[in-house]
């Protein structure tokens, strides 16, 4: 599983951090998403999919 984020779309809502804190974080200065792990292990799959679904700005893409 590969995760791609689009920083330009991100509105800093933090939904991804709530859903999958091992994979996503937010920059302190502007709250924009930081990808901690672009290739998360399979057992985080459900959390990552949840993050992508919750993201209000459609800034997270999951490629399988």
């Amino acid at each position: 599983m590969k995760v791609i984020i689009d920083e330009n779309k991100c509105v800093g809502a933090g939904q991804c951090v709530l859903a999958a804190a091992d994979v996503f974080d937010q920059r302190d200065e502007d709250g924009i998403v930081v990808l901690l792990n672009p290739l998360p292990p399979d057992d985080l799959g459900a959390q990552v999919e949840d993050a992508a679904l919750r993201c209000p700005a459609l800034a997270i893409e999951v490629v399988k």
Binding site: V11, G12, A13, G14, Q15, V17, L18, D25, Q26, R27, D28, E29, D30, G31, I32, D50, L53, R54, P56, A57, L58
Partner: protein, 396 residues
């Protein structure tokens, strides 16, 4: 799908039970996912009620947020331009400029770091309440002061001025306020923040307004607009979630018992209360920036579309398991209470921290908490854009 004549009617507003939506929403979701009609304040528009449609429209850049009045406009529904800095009514790229300046101040981490400070405020309010003679009005004693103290502290607004800005906030979201009263309240709020901005420019303190002043990115006018917006949003929403959430939990004692038995349910309970209560009761408005086709109807450029968050949050296609019931153990599924798309609530992490701290401590401190009046006598906020209770008399 073939285009039929759109049904025309008024957006449903009348609830028979305080915790149920107007019954029409169910029929609309099932049979008429888009109708043309009149909104509670008389503005003509389209109403969409299904979860999927609400999400799609709110995430669709063809629908903008600069829009006609919600309350307090001219009689013909024309838009008085929102004051500078009112970024919830701006589209990109202007919206992006404001949002980017603010998001770093409301991240998950920063808000979670506030938890001890919020818990302290909660504990002090509860101490005061315990000393008071019951019954007390939970709104004035607890639900309003908690978010009010927190947002004042965060923004750097003196809490001593609360009477004035709490009154102005309330007028600004009342469906029954006259346009003059609305403008007057908005102006008073702006001037108040404007004076603070000038003071902080001269003598910065440790708060969001001072930080924003120091970025040098915004004019004083814009700062006054942003500050008013954050102050308003920080009050009305969380206060009503705490008060209405309490009333809701009181009528579901088995859910409170479940929370007591397993405090780890609290995160989920907060999400479920947000979904179930969806206090932005009449939905969010967008304006078509080009002609858009939806369920076979052509939404013409400039038309208003109302995305009914509350209806979407009761849609059984998304919340399969008894969507009209509060179920604190419900498996999480993204709800619409904070909206969706680029305008999704900036303060949502703060709201979560406050609700968790407030509801958790309230039921722990007052295990025998109950309504002091019959439920029918609780004055509900049918007349406000943000639903909730005007007063909640409780005893213990």
């Amino acid at each position: 799908m073939t285009a039929t004549q759109p049904t025309t009617r008024t957006q449903p507003t009348v609830r028979t039970c305080p915790f149920d939506l107007p019954e029409e929403y169910r029929t609309l979701r099932e049979q008429d996912p888009i109708i043309q009609g009149t909104l509670p304040d008389g503005v003509p528009g389209w109403l969409i009620t299904r979860y999927e449609d609400v999400r799609a429209v709110l995430a669709d850049p063809r629908f903008g947020a600069s829009r006609p009045r919600m309350v307090g406009g001219d009689a013909d529904g024309a838009t008085p331009a929102p004051p500078p800095g009112t970024f919830i009514f701006l589209d990109p790229p202007e919206h992006t400029r404001f949002r980017r300046l603010l998001t770093g101040r409301f991240t998950v981490r920063r808000m979670q770091q506030l938890t001890p400070a919020v818990e302290e405020i909660v504990a002090e309010r509860l101490d005061d309440m315990a000393r008071a003679e019951s019954p007390v009005d939970l709104v004035q004693a607890f639900a309003l002061p908690v978010p009010s103290l927190v947002i004042c502290e965060l923004l750097g607004v003196p809490y001593a001025d609360r009477e004035e800005f709490q009154r102005n906030s309330a007028t600004m979201i009342s469906l029954t306020a006259s346009p003059e009263a609305f403008q007057e309240a908005r102006e008073a709020m702006r001037q108040h923040i404007h004076r603070l901005v000038l003071a902080k420019r001269a003598d910065p303190t440790d708060d969001i307004l001072s930080e924003l002043v120091q970025t040098g990115e915004l004019t004083d006018e814009e700062l006054a607009g942003v500050g008013s917006l954050l102050l308003l949003a920080g009050h009305e929403t969380t206060a009503n979630m705490i008060a209405l959430g309490t009333m809701c939990l009181l009528r579901n004692p088995e859910q409170v018992a479940a929370l007591r038995a397993d405090p780890t349910l609290m995160d989920g309970a907060v999400e479920e209360l947000l979904r179930y209560l969806t206090i932005v009761q009449f939905g969010l408005r967008r304006v078509a920036r080009e002609d858009v086709e939806l369920h076979g109807h052509r939404i013409k450029t400039g038309s208003v579309v109302v995305a009914a968050l509350s209806s979407g949050n009761r849609d059984s296609t998304q919340f399969a398991d008894a969507p009209d019931q509060l179920e604190v153990g419900r498996k999480y599924s993204p709800h619409l209470a904070f909206g969706h798309g680029i305008h999704q609530c900036l303060g949502q992490q703060l709201a979560r921290v406050e609700m968790k701290a407030a509801l958790g401590a309230l039921f722990k401190r007052f295990p025998t908490l109950r309504l002091a009046v019959p439920e029918e006598d609780v004055p509900m906020r049918h007349d406000m854009l943000v639903y909730g209770v005007h007063e909640l008399p409780v005893t213990w």
